[in-house]
């Protein structure tokens, strides 16, 4: 009766729905971008044709004005541009989330959302606030929406509808899975475990002269372990690890160990050694250990590549501005007014509902009529007296 870490992780939705190989992740993003581009082009095309048709009707069949809209092919964001923009907004999201949570699920809500959706369809600044609000509900930090709107701030005041309108789109795209498995839970136990194991290792060292020195070193080692733990968690896990694709590609324990490796490599390798004890003379676990370490190293590379200053450089800023301007030109015109869309959808559904209600009533009357006719023929049902059997 024991569930190991891996068995538990494999039943999680993070593994079942949100785990990818590098290729499948890239291919999903490519397809999302391609589909969005086609839709933007189709939407622009429809509008252009509508405009020409309207012109024709006005001017008796002659096209008089050939505006830019009618000729210029819309330029869409490339996948790389999308990723740059998302990187920026996810960092914003992280900053917002840090004030509210220890575990910023909101960043991964954003990242998961944009596997299915393009910024051209839904602008990240519209999704940002909703992702954070949904995270306050899932992570036990729920607060009143009015209060939340007040806290969020921003240049323009945030309205209730700004937050609520995209909630439906977001939760649907998250496929109604709200749990994000973070590597943080491992940090503290891992810390104390390595401390205990280290002490045991030291105790098993052959006795040499200079006892007091060993005590001094134990003290120093404790400091080193504590430092490694806080660098791993504060510098890497709470920042870079969340902004990279690590959660899509690695397990929480791999991510934790990768961050620990970046913080103190020899210590982490020592810790891993204690996990792969083999009987003397046998090296059966060697291939597994090599595989584990190489996985952790590749995860560490990903995290350290994402470990950049939180403020974009001037060049990066200029590039972001350019992409954002470009996005302004190629947003899917059908999806800009999320609040309006949301209202329209609700209105349609209510009308459908009324229709269904009327139909249901009609059916009920018919059914009752049939039942009555049946009763007339067969006689009423026998009274249910619960007669002894």
């Amino acid at each position: 009766m024991h569930l190991n870490e891996d068995a538990k992780y494999r039943t999680s939705t993070q593994f079942r729905y949100w785990n990818f190989t590098p290729d499948s992740l890239a291919s999903l993003r490519r397809n999302t971008n391609r589909a969005a581009v086609e839709r933007v082009k189709a939407a622009f095309d429809r509008r252009r044709k509508a405009r020409i048709a309207a012109d024709k009707a006005q001017n008796g069949g002659e096209v008089t004005v050939v505006s830019e809209l009618q000729t210029k092919e819309v330029e869409c964001l490339t996948l790389e541009e999308e990723q740059k923009l998302l990187g920026y907004y996810c960092a914003q999201c992280l900053k917002m989330g840090k004030d509210n949570f220890k575990y910023p699920a909101n960043v991964y809500y954003m990242k998961r959302f944009y596997l299915f959706n393009s910024p051209m369809t839904y602008h990240p600044k519209d999704i940002l606030k909703t992702a954070l609000f949904v995270a306050t509900k899932t992570e036990n930090h729920h607060q009143d929406l009015d209060k939340y709107c007040g806290q969020i701030g921003g240049k323009k005041p945030t309205l209730r509808d700004d937050v609520l309108a995209p909630e439906f789109i977001l939760t649907q795209a998250l496929r109604f899975t709200f749990e994000v498995r973070h590597p943080f839970r491992a940090v503290l136990p891992g810390h104390s475990q390595s401390a205990v194991q280290l002490q045991q290792a030291l105790l098993s060292l052959p006795q040499t002269s200079g006892g007091p020195e060993i005590i001094h070193e134990v003290h120093q080692m404790e400091k080193r372990i504590t430092e490694a733990h806080s660098i791993a968690s504060d510098r890497y896990l709470k920042n870079a690890a969340l902004l990279t694709d690590a959660y899509f590609l690695y397990t929480p324990s791999q991510i934790w160990l990768a961050a620990h490796l970046l913080a103190d490599e020899p210590l982490t390798l020592f810790y891993l050694d204690t996990k792969f004890t083999v009987a003397p003379g046998s090296n059966s676990s060697a291939p597994l250990k090599t595989r584990v370490i190489s996985t952790i190293r590749s995860c560490a590379t990903m995290i350290s590549n994402g470990d950049t200053p939180s403020q974009p450089t001037l060049e990066e800023r200029a590039e972001l501005t350019r992409v954002d301007k470009k996005l302004y030109q190629c947003r899917n015109p059908d999806k800009i007014d999320l609040i309006g869309l949301n209202k329209a959808q609700k209105r349609d559904a209510t009308m459908d509902g009324k229709l269904e209600e009327g139909l249901a009533k009609k059916r009920k009357i018919e059914r009752e009529k049939q039942e009555k006719e049946a009763d007339d023929f067969w006689g009423p049902p026998l009274p249910n007296t619960g007669a002894p059997g």
Binding site: T11, I169, Q172, K346, D352
Partner: protein
């Protein structure tokens, strides 16, 4: 199409390309899923706003098309429950719980719904109710597809109190042992996944067609807090609420669930509520009468809990009930045998740190001494009290809500010691 009458048909090439891209993306997603059961329908159809469907909309529409709603089983203020079936295997009946957007909750999806979905998506175990799928309907309400548990709940079987309904079902100590084993496996599984249920009671233990017991209603569940994080004590339906929550503890553990399980075990024997009361104060007083008064001696640290001054008057002359004497325990719970009584008393220890874990309970001798737990398929069933309609009643309830039988407080979650304040 919602665009306008002027709008011509989509350019063919673009539309087919979108479909191709989308179909490919769907394939990518499916390849990563472990359950390959989802049927692949036509890859694209018009979306709800007239344009093409998003990938996410497409997946949602497929789920929605898969499960067909049948007749309404129960209507509540919080949710409606329908009978439904899986169109890919029409013999599979399901319950579809469609949550209502209450006007009183204007902050979007309700937190209870989000919690329930969050945890049930993760917890897959034979003794935990199976959430098979979630989809949203056009009116933006969330629909949860849940396995149909047609035999009602455990309370319907055991409860013979004043307002009991239906014919009495008799059962033995071996049956109690079987139900408790299934309950404890479910609780063990939750705790292994760092989830506290926080609303365990007979009404939330549903019975499947094969007689097995399933823990339901995760609307109050939460994951274990990190050391130092505050949690609200206003949880667990009052009759099943442990003393630390009455005392206002904001740091508590999975032991709250163990207390509730202990109360359920007691009720299985008594066939009535064990620690009822009209007010929180009445219930707490009853707790001290049965289990004894909390003190620094039997529960180190208890006097530091927020509500402790109200409960422990500084006046030492005030009577402090010592709890039920052992002979009374033996008389009332003789059905469990001495080993069973021992387990029951440890599960209901006042000090949460003294309660055994779910794992320790499962390893307890009680489950290994005669009589052996009854085989699941031989367990007695409710006569008339069950049925899908009873399940619907259980599903549409708001979490933490006690049955409205006049004895229970209706807004069960709010802890109210108002009458104590001087």
């Amino acid at each position: 199409m919602g665009v306008s009458t002027n709008s011509p048909v989509h350019p063919k090439s673009a539309s087919t390309e979108i479909q191709a891209a989308k179909a490919k993306a769907l394939t990518v997603i499916r390849a990563t899923e472990t359950s390959a059961s989802s049927p692949i329908s036509k890859p694209s159809s018009p979306g709800e706003d007239g344009g093409e469907r998003d990938l996410a909309e497409e997946l949602n529409a497929q789920t929605r098309a898969r499960y067909k709603k049948g007749k309404l089983l129960g209507e509540g203020t919080y949710a409606n429950v329908f009978l439904g079936h899986d169109t890919t295997s029409p013999n599979t009946l399901v319950a579809i719980k469609k949550t209502k957007k209450l006007d009183s909750f204007k902050d979007g999806m309700s937190i209870d719904t989000i919690r329930e979905i969050r945890f049930l998506q993760e917890l897959k175990h034979p003794n935990i109710i199976n959430l098979m799928a979630v989809f949203s309907s056009k009116d933006q309400n969330v629909n949860m597809v849940i396995e149909l548990l047609p035999r009602g709940d455990l309370k319907t079987i055991y409860y013979r109190g004043a307002d009991a309904k239906g014919p009495e079902v008799s059962y033995t100590g071996a049956d109690i042992k079987a139900w408790m084993a299934m309950l404890m496996r479910a609780v063990w599984f939750c705790h292994e996944h760092f989830v506290m249920h926080r609303d365990i009671k007979g009404d939330n233990l549903l019975i499947a067609a094969d007689g097995s017991l399933k823990l339901a209603d995760f609307g109050l569940a939460r994951s274990f807090a990190d050391p130092g994080t505050r949690m609200t004590p206003e949880m667990v339906t009052s009759f099943y609420r442990p003393p630390e929550l009455f005392l206002g503890a904001t740091h508590y553990s999975a032991a709250v669930d163990i207390w509730s399980c202990g109360i359920v075990l007691g009720e299985l024997v008594k066939r009535d509520y064990w620690v009822p009361g009209h007010t929180d104060l009445e219930i707490f007083t009853r707790i001290t009468e049965v289990f004894g008064s909390p003190s620094e001696a039997n529960w180190p640290g208890v006097t530091k809990l927020p509500n402790a001054p109200l409960i422990n008057p500084s006046d030492d002359s005030a009577p402090r009930p010592p709890g039920m004497p052992t002979e009374q325990w033996n008389r009332e719970f003789g059905q469990l045998g001495p080993i069973g009584i021992d387990l029951l008393r440890s599960m209901t220890s006042l000090d949460p740190r003294k309660r055994p874990t779910a794992k320790q309970i499962l390893a307890h001798d009680w489950f290994r001494t005669a009589p052996a737990p009854t085989k699941t398929e031989l367990l007695p069933q409710a006569g008339g009290g069950g049925g899908p309609v009873k399940m619907a009643e259980d599903l549409k309830r708001k979490p933490g809500e006690a049955p409205s039988d006049g004895r229970a407080d209706k807004v069960a979650r709010k802890i109210d010691f108002g009458s104590m304040k001087k």
